[in-house]
């Protein structure tokens, strides 16, 4: 098929949105519990069960993951593609005013940051502040538009991803994770993308994010995003069926909230499914634990890799109508900026 940047960028958005919505139904369960509840692997939008965070969501409805990515992208596009502190804060405040996403879903680290830059004085807690417990995946889940806006330009992608991440998750592990995802997306959207160079971009992002993070952000204890990423890629490219690899990734790398589980796992699912747009999401959605976040990230990468036409036709219209968000319009705006940048303008 002929290369079409718009199709790739729209694919990145559709994949991320579909991962979030599909994962909302399986979050916090194990692989066995997912199969038991639904009677099969989840491969499409489902109604989230009543005992999970997405309870009350309709099939195709987003949680915090893609909704915050959407608002971030929108704000940056309105700012002519320039990523600065003001644009990021504006995005998060806009997002926080959408109760349907924010009130129900916003994670602990992000919530605190938004209160702070809305001008609220946050008193020092009596307890010991544990930055270590803030090395979560909250920034990486919304970072994919940064890659879409900077096709093939890994260093600009890293610079922008760092600006975004420092505002809510100013520790080096969160930076490493966010840069890994953003770089993978940036590479995946290119015409000459293949499984290897997307994985190499992810590794480059993780390493650079870690290096820069140790200079400018807070140090925290925690496993290395890079080491776990190497493990996830080894499993993903190794022997076995995608389903066997899915279990190995869940058992060895982990698919939880920590940045060193969720990000390597997401990229591992991309490798395990050879970049297949829907298959990568299905892996993340059925692996269990923080499925919506992991699936949002791998959906962005695999969707940008294979384009929107790789997804079932009902995905985009369902998500647009259930969530009332103009995803196609956003894709067009991102494409305009990305195209200019690809041609060397601006």
């Amino acid at each position: 098929m002929e290369y079409n940047l718009h199709n790739r960028i729209l694919g990145g958005l559709v994949g991320a949105g579909a991962g979030d919505a599909m994962g909302a139904a399986t979050e916090a369960r194990t692989t066995e519990q997912i199969r038991e509840y639904f009677g099969h692997m989840v491969t499409d939008f489902e109604t989230p069960p009543m005992d999970t965070f997405g309870a009350g969501n309709k099939p195709g409805q987003f949680t915090d993951d893609f909704s915050s990515a959407f608002f971030l992208a929108k704000s940056i596009v309105d700012n002519q593609g320039v990523v600065d502190q003001k644009a990021v804060q504006k995005a998060l405040i806009d997002w926080s005013e959408h109760a349907v996403f924010f009130d129900r879903f916003a994670g602990p680290t992000t919530r605190l940051a938004i209160r702070r830059f809305k001008g609220e004085e946050i008193g020092e807690t009596k307890g010991v502040q544990l930055v270590t417990r803030q090395a979560t995946n909250g920034s990486a889940m919304r970072i994919s538009p940064i890659g879409l806006l900077n096709p093939g330009n890994l260093d600009q992608t890293i610079a922008d991803a760092i600006t975004v991440t420092m505002i809510t998750h100013d520790n080096y592990l969160a930076l490493s994770g966010a840069c890994a995802v953003a770089c993978a997306v940036s590479r995946a959207v290119m015409e000459d993308a293949d499984v290897y160079n997307v994985l190499q971009a992810a590794l480059y992002g993780a390493e650079e994010g870690e290096r820069i993070g140790l200079e400018i952000a807070r140090d925290v204890a925690g496993p290395s995003v890079l080491r776990r990423l190497e493990l996830a890629i080894k499993i993903g490219l190794g022997h076995g069926t995608p389903e066997e690899k899915m279990r190995e990734i869940a058992d060895r790398v982990g698919t939880g909230l920590h940045v060193s589980e969720a990000i390597p796992a997401a990229i591992g699912f991309f490798a395990a499914n050879v970049g297949d747009a829907l298959g990568s999401i299905i892996g993340a959605v059925n692996a269990g634990y923080d499925t919506d976040t992991v699936a949002t990230m791998v959906g962005a990468i695999a969707g940008a890799f294979q384009g929107a036409s790789a997804y079932p036709e009902h995905f985009l219209p369902t998500m647009e109508s259930v969530n009332g968000l103009d995803i196609s319009g956003l894709a067009a705006q991102i494409t305009e900026i990305a195209e200019k940048r690809l041609k060397g303008g601006c």
């Binding site: 916090a28 369960r29 194990t30 692989t31 066995e32 519990q33 005992d51 999970t52 965070f53 994670g107 602990p108 010991v128 502040q129 544990l130 270590t132 417990r133 803030q134 090395a135 979560t136 140090d219 925290v220 204890a221 925690g222 496993p223 290395s224 890079l226 080491r227 776990r228 493990l231 190995e248 869940a250 058992d251 060895r252 790398v253 982990g254 698919t255 939880g256 909230l257 920590h258 060193s260 589980e261 269990g288 634990y289």
Partner: protein
């Protein structure tokens, strides 16, 4: 020929190793390796006053935290019931601990919730409790529905059943259910208890203990999954992570500082049971069971240093005995914490002898 240690020597080695590891780790808990080096001007390999930004702030050098105090009180309860373990006994031990000086500063997320729940006059219904766990615990904390509290209090069941893995696993499951009622926590707890049980036998060394740990992790998880009263959460596999830790520390042959860093970076040293337990076992192997060097690495590995060093201290101590721990530490730890390790070790040995008769 290997010098045979007395049973008392092993039991006291285990208790003292655990206490020393906990007390040393108290000063470095939640910091990264880099932060520890910066704060203390190098590696921490003795008792330090905990700085102001760790959970043990305000406490003295040598004081233990939750990691050792919970199993210490649990052991007391087990001795009072002639070694008969039950979930009920596990709960009453926790309730007594909840009244101790250690509860307020140290109770971890899982244990704190369980004690609060046990204390509540109008106990929450099971669904309310599940929702509570689901919302507050899952999203409020970044990982570890299956946390390391289960692993640090696992050694007593192993001490009380030398070389009897089935009984050790059975009792460990009951005791763990009191606070950590999920297959992964139980898997990690049974790994440690089984290793200690094997270590008590005096037969074999590090390899045999680690094989027992591996067996305990597998059987404990399988047994837990058969229960009706179990809560199943997602999370990495303790058994597979133990295999990863073994593979990792065997790479490169003899020990180098790299092994500690690699365990930290790949397996992790956070509160998840699938990080704490495999990493502790990795350090135990890397140091061939040598108590003080292994504890020292555990104290400097970062994050959950108290828990990791407690487990490492217990594993090494039961294998190498009390004389593998620096002279003077026993008296110091007993005095600073007002605890009677020698008395507890004697009571354990007396109970074992009584059972053998």
């Amino acid at each position: 020929m290997r010098k045979t240690l007395s049973r008392y020597d092993r039991v006291l080695g285990c208790l003292l190793g655990a206490a020393v590891g906990d007390a040393m780790g108290a000063a470095t808990e939640t910091m990264s390796t880099r932060q520890i080096e910066k704060r203390f001007g190098g590696r921490v390999c003795d008792f330090q006053t905990p700085p102001d930004d760790v959970l043990a702030r305000g406490r003295k050098a040598g004081q233990v935290t939750d990691a050792f105090s919970i199993p210490y009180i649990l052991t007391k309860h087990l001795l009072n019931s002639d070694g008969k373990a039950s979930r009920k006994l596990g709960e009453s031990a926790l309730l007594e601990w909840g009244k101790s000086e250690w509860f307020a500063p140290f109770a971890g997320m899982t244990t704190r919730k369980v004690i609060n729940r046990l204390n509540e006059v109008h106990a929450m219904g099971v669904w309310e409790y599940a929702g509570h766990l689901g919302n507050k615990l899952f999203k409020g904390h970044y990982y570890a529905l299956s946390s390391n509290g289960a692993g640090v209090k696992a050694y007593p069941a192993g001490l009380l059943h030398p070389d009897d893995l089935p009984k050790t696993i059975e009792d460990t499951i009951e005791l763990t259910m009191a606070s950590h009622d999920d297959p992964l926590s139980i898997s990690g707890a049974c790994a440690i208890a089984a290793a200690i049980s094997k270590g008590m036998s005096g037969q074999g060394g590090v390899y045999e203990m680690v094989q027992a740990a591996r067996y305990g992790a597998e059987v404990g998880e399988a047994e837990a999954r058969k229960r009706d009263d179990i809560w199943v959460y997602p999370g990495p596999s303790v058994t597979k992570r133990i295999d990863m830790a073994i593979e990792l520390v065997l790479r490169g042959g003899v020990y180098s500082g790299r092994h500690m860093e690699e365990l930290r970076d790949l397996i992790g040293c956070g509160p998840a049971i699938a990080e704490t337990v495999p990493t502790a076992i990795g350090l135990f192997i890397a140091h061939q069971g040598e108590t003080m060097p292994a504890i020292c690495d555990a104290v400097n590995i970062g994050d959950e240093t108290s828990a990791i060093a407690t487990i490492v201290g217990a594993l090494c101590g039961v294998l190498k005995g009390k004389n593998s721990i620096c002279q003077g530490y026993l008296e110091f730890i007993e005095a600073v914490n007002d605890i009677d390790l020698q008395g507890q070790a004697k009571s354990i040995c007396a109970l074992l002898e009584k059972e053998e008769r």
